[in-house]
């Protein structure tokens, strides 16, 4: 009887070992490039702990001062998400495989959308502050563009999964494209669209809290000031406030989403 033998590759784990070696090599190169200095970190980490220690005594009186910027943060997120979503809907339909049959047209739209998604939101903020000037308007535009990229992808993936039966039925009766979308598609899409919009809103609330750091409105500006003035007890209050707001928004959004399904 012949005993089954593992091939040389599998027997000596050639793939696993070479991947491990590659990772180790990349780690060493990265460490050299980024100037990792464990000694300095060990020496200075008490200073890091001092910051954390100061943060343990939050300056609660400061809370009354940050209510307005905190509200502005949420307002920016709400409006930015809405604008981005409105922009995203037509592009999502143009990028969906079952709506646009032309491969070239679809790919062109998708390429544009994925180019927008490559830019992180803080980078967009830095760019738009330079272009549009400082203020919450810039934050809103940043979030609108950012959510446009995100929502359009989520939407076209939903559109591609719908049941095409009602669509064909309407098309055979000679309905126009818009009529088909309104009567055969929207009822299938509305709930899941709403759920994804709420998801985008959650992400945008998180994102909008740091945009102000670059001058794009909201709580980030106060965050920057407190850090620049080494007022860590105030920083702690801001971080806790952001955390609570994000938790509440997540909670509301999760409840609503469960209700929608």
């Amino acid at each position: 009887m012949q005993v089954p033998q593992l091939s040389f590759w599998k027997r000596y784990h050639v793939l696993g070992i070479s991947v491990t070696l590659l990772l180790v090599l990349l780690t060493v190169i990265s460490a050299q490039l980024t100037g990792v200095d464990v000694g300095a970190f060990a020496k200075n980490s008490p200073q890091f702990l001092v910051i954390l220690k100061q943060m343990q005594q939050p300056d609660w009186n400061y809370l009354s001062q940050i209510q307005k910027p905190l509200a502005q943060t949420i307002q920016m997120a709400v409006l930015g998400t809405t604008l981005g979503t409105i922009l995203a809907v037509p592009f999502a339909f143009l990028a969906a495989r079952n709506i646009v049959k032309n491969w070239w047209g679809r790919s062109l739209v998708r390429l544009g959308l994925s180019l927008i998604r490559t830019l992180p939101n803080l980078l967009l903020a830095a760019l738009f502050v330079a272009i549009f000037g400082i203020g919450p308007m810039t934050g809103m535009i940043t979030l609108a563009i950012f959510s446009f990229g995100m929502v359009s992808k989520l939407f076209y993936e939903i559109i591609e999964t719908i049941d095409m039966g009602p669509v064909y039925a309407l098309q055979t009766t000679g309905a126009s494209l818009l009529q088909t979308i309104r009567i055969a598609m929207l009822p299938q899409l509305a709930g899941r669209f709403a759920s994804d919009i709420l998801y985008a809103l959650e992400i945008n609330v998180r994102a909008s809290t740091v945009l102000g750091y670059l001058g794009a409105g909201g709580i980030g500006l106060d965050l920057q000031q407190s850090l620049d003035q080494f007022a860590y007890p105030q920083t702690a209050v801001i971080i806790i406030a952001i955390f609570v707001v994000v938790l509440i928004i997540d909670l509301i959004s999760n409840l609503t989403r469960r209700h929608l399904q």
Binding site: L26, I51, L122, R206, I242
Partner: protein, 263 residues
């Protein structure tokens, strides 16, 4: 098949609509409408011009200050940060995984709270805190990415532990395997692909983060970008943007190829 809506259902809709309208009313009033800068059009045109007519001498000149070197450093920050956090995340994820369905699970609850607390710190703030500890530069960026990623990777890892297939573990237990053998031969092979896939996904996000951390002084390509924006050097801004976009596309493509191979 539409359900008949009860009277209460109709009220629910009305309340929802009123709430949404008041939310928008509140939001619109909170954002002061200011006219955008007059130079907006000109600035964006210059940035676009810089993108399509790159200054080749800046892209690579071997000085270490050029675009390619900065992008490589950005990748190094993202790689090292993700690598460190993937290792730190493993014990955290075992701590946070809820392995049975009792409604209260002290160990998993503590673990999940810890991970949520780590995620609550925005990366930029972490970077600033680490800059105060180790000085400005790429190392602070590595630490910020490494620390912040633990929050997300720990969560993803613990979710894949919760969803894992326990049959192989049981089989080894049935043959009398020790705890270590069970972990080495059944648990690890079952969760490793999911862990690697999550780590690759996080690497994609880390590359994006690393490219902006330079804005606060934590190294990488964000530093020259910030200088270019501050000195109103729009064509340089355009080139750097182009570089970041190409790098992100390349890494996303590579990572999604590797992740597809894993499954």
């Amino acid at each position: 098949m539409k359900k008949l809506r009860s009277k209460w259902g109709r009220w629910e809709w009305m309340i929802g609509i009123v709430l949404i309208i008041s939310l928008y009313w509140w939001s619109i009033r909170g954002i002061p409408l200011v006219p955008i800068q007059k130079s907006a059009g000109q600035v964006s045109a210059s940035i676009l011009h810089g993108m399509f007519n790159p200054d080749w001498s800046y892209i690579y000149n071997g000085s270490g200050e050029d675009l390619v070197s900065q992008l490589v450093i950005t990748l190094a920050i993202a790689f090292l940060g993700t690598f460190i956090s993937a290792i730190i995340s493993v014990p955290f994820s075992f701590l946070a995984a809820q392995t049975n369905s009792r409604w209260f699970h002290p160990r998993a609850t503590i673990g999940k709270l810890l991970l949520t607390a780590i995620r609550a710190f925005p990366e930029v703030i972490l970077a600033i805190m680490f800059i105060k500890a180790v000085g400005p530069g790429s190392f602070a960026g590595v630490l910020a990415v490494g620390f912040h990623s633990v929050g997300m990777l720990g969560k993803l890892f613990s979710e894949s532990i919760e969803a894992m297939d326990h049959r192989a573990e049981l089989a080894i237990k049935a043959t009398g395997g020790t705890k270590l053998q069970r972990f080495w031969l059944a648990t690890l092979p079952a969760i490793l692909p999911a862990f690697l896939s999550a780590t690759l996904y996080r690497f994609e996000i880390s590359v994006r983060s690393a490219s902006i951390l330079g804005i606060v002084g934590a190294g990488g390509v964000g530093t020259p970008l910030m200088f270019a924006l501050q000195t109103r050097d729009w064509s340089k801004t355009g080139v750097i943007l182009l570089g970041i976009v190409l790098m992100v596309i390349l890494i996303d493509g590579l990572s999604s190829y590797l992740r597809r191979r894993l499954h």
